[in-house]
């Protein structure tokens, strides 16, 4: 059982405060969703958990299995088992996808090349990705859907304990959304990680069923509830929640 805790977290970039006294706790086997209008700090939260040095933590703490991780570097946090899928995955010139994933897996454990290739091909098939994409430079010339599938492929290969999905559903057509959603759920059934989903829409939640939904506004969680909260947001928008908060 693993646990990620965010305690009274306040974060700034430059002079601007993005997160204010934010609290959140996610355990293995739990799926949480964070929703909210644009620019309220959803992506910032995912990057701060991962240790992006562009942001400054002014107050509070992030704990993984009861130990503070805010002094750890990004790669150390990743090696603890925290995995972030990027909203806009980076394109890396000259580095093939297979070399990239091999280097990533090698940083966790000694790679058995035969097993690695076998697993990579198997997961590529499941994700309905063209095998040729493994030899292409990371994310270069990939469509939006292919980039997101590539993020899920990375998740399969690294087997994280905490998965943070930052708008994994953006740029996906209906078929790709189904593949991505079903594969995340398959990984969840298999490994029971803690999952934090950041999204604007309900459509991903047709495939991934969350236990808790949170609304983030002005850097703080202003309301938490069950998956029924998503239906309310879809119907009413954020305004009623924001107005009652103010």
């Amino acid at each position: 059982m693993h646990k990620l805790q965010i305690q009274n977290l306040s974060v700034t970039i430059g002079e601007k405060e993005i997160l204010k006294d934010l609290n959140l706790e996610i355990k293995s086997g739990e799926i949480h969703v964070i929703m909210g209008p644009n620019g309220v700090g959803k992506s910032t939260l995912s990057k701060v958990i991962m240790g992006d040095s562009s942001y400054e933590i002014k107050k509070g703490d992030i704990l993984f299995d009861e130990k503070s991780i805010i002094s750890l570097s990004t790669d150390e946090r990743a090696r603890l088992g925290i995995y972030l899928t990027f909203q806009n995955p980076m394109e890396i010139e000259g580095v093939s996808n297979v070399d990239f994933l091999k280097a990533a897996v090698s940083s966790f454990q000694k790679v058995n090349l035969f097993q690695f290739i076998k697993e990579l091909e198997e997961k590529t098939n499941i994700l309905k990705m063209d095998k040729e994409m493994l030899n292409r430079p990371v994310n270069i010339g990939f469509s939006g859907g292919e980039k997101k599938k590539n993020e899920v492929l990375g998740m399969y290969m690294l087997k994280p304990k905490v998965v943070i999905l930052d708008e994994i559903d953006s740029g996906l057509d209906v078929d790709s959304l189904k593949i991505v959603g079903e594969n995340i759920m398959a990984y969840y059934e298999q490994e029971k990680p803690a999952i934090l989903i950041i999204t604007h829409y309900q459509r991903l939640l047709d495939y991934i069923k969350p236990q808790k939904v949170h609304i983030l506004y002005q850097g703080s969680i202003i309301k938490s509830g069950t998956s029924q909260l998503v239906t309310k947001i879809e119907k009413q928008g954020y305004l009623p929640f924001v107005t009652s908060h103010e």
Partner: protein, 262 residues
């Protein structure tokens, strides 16, 4: 593949077949060692420089009509001055792959795209530890000619890089295609320059140029580290990607990077 070795201002070895003819002139007090390479059929050639003393070469490459020529060049740790002149005929193409890990280099490449549909694809990768100066001039002397120039150089230690690339398209040279991509990966905080010039006197052409001097992109490093790679592993992988060439085996490139990047 045909092969020649140039060492200390001399031609030390030539293993060539009927597709290439060579003509050389010894170094004199006033002129450097001169070599004329004439390509008469589709072929490839590897030039290796093994200088132990500062050396100077003047090399002319003439490619006959309808020939496809691949030139590979390797240089290592030597002080060298080289002038290349390429004369490319009608419907002939030249592809240049150069890999250099060297100290002082001064190189001038002059390309004459003399024939209709003549073409050059030029790909230079270099690691620089000292002053390096590259001047290139590409003359589009005929319609439908194409040039695609890619220079990617890595500055380490005392490396200082200056690149000057000038592409010239004369009037009436229609449907020409001019591409320049120049990049210096600055890992020593020295001053480097890139001057990409396009001198075009014709409207009906495709042209683009890019020049970039900088270090690793922090967002890319963050992405790689979020996959568990340490900064050292991530930068090594990026360097390998930056410098890789098909004719340099992956293991050899890794050794070179390990040697210089700690």
């Amino acid at each position: 593949m045909n092969k020649i070795v140039l060492k200390n201002n001399q031609l030390m070895l030539s293993e060539i077949d009927f597709t290439i003819s060579l003509c050389s002139k010894e170094k004199t007090e006033f002129k450097p060692f001169q070599l004329e390479i004439k390509v008469v059929k589709d072929t490839s050639l590897l030039i290796e420089y093994q200088n132990e003393i500062p050396s100077k070469y003047d090399i002319q490459i003439i490619v006959e009509p309808n020939c496809s020529f691949e030139l590979y060049e390797k240089k290592k740790e030597q002080e060298t001055k080289i002038q290349y002149r390429y004369d490319i005929s009608e419907q002939a193409s030249v592809t240049v792959h150069k890999f250099q890990e060297a100290k002082k280099i001064k190189e001038l490449d002059i390309v004459y795209l003399q024939g209709y549909e003549s073409q050059i694809d030029y790909d230079l990768k270099a690691i620089s530890f000292d002053k390096q100066k590259y001047d290139m001039v590409i003359y589009h002397c005929q319609s439908n000619s194409k040039s695609n120039i890619s220079n990617r150089l890595l500055a380490l230690q005392a490396g200082e890089i200056h690149i000057n690339v000038t592409s010239i398209v004369y009037p009436q040279m229609k449907d020409t295609n001019v591409i320049q991509n120049n990049r210096i990966l600055n890992l020593n905080n020295k001053k480097h320059t890139i001057c990409p010039n396009l001198l075009i006197e014709q409207n009906d052409i495709d042209a683009s140029h890019s020049a970039h001097i900088g270090s690793f992109d922090p967002a890319t490093l963050f992405y790689m580290k979020s996959r568990g790679m340490s900064e050292k592993e991530a930068t090594k992988l990026l360097l390998k990607g930056f410098l890789q060439m098909d004719f340099i085996p992956s293991e050899e490139l890794e050794k070179i990077i390990d040697q210089y990047w700690r």
